[in-house]
Symmetry: C2
Subunit: 408 residues, 2 copies
Amino acid sequence: MFLALLQAPAVAPHADTLAPVMLALAVILAAAKLGGDAAERIGQPAVLGELVVGVLIGNLSLVGIDWFQFIAANSTIEVLAQLGAVILLFEVGLESTVRDMLQVGARSLMVAVLGVVTPWALGWWVGALLLPEHSVYVHAFLGAVLTATSVGITARVLKDLGRSQSPEARIILGAAVIDDVLGLVVLAAVAAVIATADSGAALSYGALGLVLGKALLFLFGALSLGVVLSPWLFSFASRLRGSGVLLATALVFCFTLAWLASAIGLAPIVGAYAAGLILEDLHYRDFAKEERQLENLVRPISSFLVPVFFVLMGMRVDLTTLMRPDILGLAAALTVAAVLGKQACALGALGARLDWLSIGIGMIPRGVVRGERIIDAATYSAVVIMVMLTTLITPPALKWSLNKQKLR
Amino acid sequence: MFLALLQAPAVAPHADTLAPVMLALAVILAAAKLGGDAAERIGQPAVLGELVVGVLIGNLSLVGIDWFQFIAANSTIEVLAQLGAVILLFEVGLESTVRDMLQVGARSLMVAVLGVVTPWALGWWVGALLLPEHSVYVHAFLGAVLTATSVGITARVLKDLGRSQSPEARIILGAAVIDDVLGLVVLAAVAAVIATADSGAALSYGALGLVLGKALLFLFGALSLGVVLSPWLFSFASRLRGSGVLLATALVFCFTLAWLASAIGLAPIVGAYAAGLILEDLHYRDFAKEERQLENLVRPISSFLVPVFFVLMGMRVDLTTLMRPDILGLAAALTVAAVLGKQACALGALGARLDWLSIGIGMIPRGVVRGERIIDAATYSAVVIMVMLTTLITPPALKWSLNKQKLR
């Protein structure tokens, strides 16, 4: 009959999009804290509990309960989850500086390159071995699927365990950034190869170089310009009247870099991490003391949004894929290739007194890449199982290896 | 070609819904802080600056610049704005207790009833006078449009000026809650009358009673049950391991009540305010000291989301409506009726040493109610202008009256 607009909070009935989002947030936050508590009680990082509780409520429909299906289907919740990942990487970035990262830069590069090449080769080989009837494109694609580190899990485990300022954490996060650049180039290459095969034209190495060049330009441009501009920006902002100016300025900086990263095809979290690296306490010394603890201001926002990311990630795990014996063999082989492939990363850390095992384990989690056009549904399900397993293995494995290191 | 899912933050290209949201948030936060600074420099509450800067960027398309149109069109930003209003009223509610509200309850009821009856009568009269060719339904509807207080602006001004714990603030907020219940009943009544006129059936007073009963049951049920359950809930939560448990529990409580309110047809902010009233420091004394300052944990989330609400509200103001001389007369008459009508609220505060002028001014802002089925586009535009003017008048007027009171 009547529809109250945004400006009419005092007249019912109300816009119906807010209601499901609030209910979903209430369910997610309650589930996350209960899951996190259970995980910590058995000595695991809280994030494992958030993932598992997400798997549970996401798969309740298997026993006929579909109360929570609206959560995974809500597009605002999905954006909030992604914002959660952005805030998480920004927060982790705040704990280090650009200088810290440059110190481990060469090592991160080694880890990233080894962590892309080895799993790609292993995945290609697994594909050729188990799917001989498929084309070489499918084998190459299966290899490519194993290259991309999904760094959110590892960043969160390191944070849960208070280890995000260790050199190992910096090497992993730096390698994940480089991974993303390489992944961008690999994807562009695969797309170009297929377009070339379709059209019969010659493969354009120039276009590939452009993709790589833009990504590198962004990274170096953002870091070097950011380091120069950030003190000026915060000095300007410190003269603004009103409350919450420091937090707002930091969020503007974070969202702008994350948006720029995504605009050139990189992951938004790469931009957010870069923004966190750039910002240093020194830049906002002009703010009043009670405002000056940026980490304390970002933490409540991360407590609010980060669990949305991990619970939703758990909800996206579809347990029915595990009930398909025809694909479990391929899934197991891919998972082993994914795990072992990243252990080659450790070679990048040789020669230094570093916890190379934790670096290899920290690189294990993989993300899902849609590739239905290239691989069939069964093969795709095997990839999804590999993603599920690497996601769920990492928190306990990383906690174990970090503790082992501490005991030595 | 490939589409990276949520779980694949490390592989490009990425889901494209996050990017515009991040850019919009960066623009909104930057604009809000610049506008807030300008407002404070001329001695006005920051919220006026956020509204005006919203009006400016929302109407840049008038001079051919449509860079910011994507913000007002983004549905996630709209939900985030509404979440901002929910968090704002929760935060304001935290500053008072249920006991504080009961003390001003009778007075709030008086203020609310006078603030509904007088503007309704005035609006009806303005309609009958200026639009004699329209039906009595249109006149009644114009009156109804003037009843609903949009309390977000006033809550924010009181907060900007550090006055949200004054008795006047409590009376206004309590009256706004009762307003919302009355507004629900009025809307149900208007809908029932029209349905009755359409179908020829008798008006069902029973159905109206049910609407009122459900709303009252929610309010009294939520407040009395909440006061009993909240200490138990927080005592349980304090035994959960993991970080951010207090904030998460408080948000779960807030979102659940806000959702319940909207489920029975009330504004979500009514539920959020009730949640804030119910929670008391005592309830979470079991938490470690550094976690215990709930207000400090909620503030960064409100610094993040509340400006989204006000800048977007400003962006929704369409300045082209002001260029229609044919409707400016009606708009001016409605605005005067809206402003004067709520001054009758002051009668509800007579006999006590209260700042009755500030109470009347605090009730001025109105929301937009869609009623195209009943009134024509020109009349509707006049309503929109009335909403714009009452929204923009309130911050400076309220600041002026509160300061005047202080000087006496």
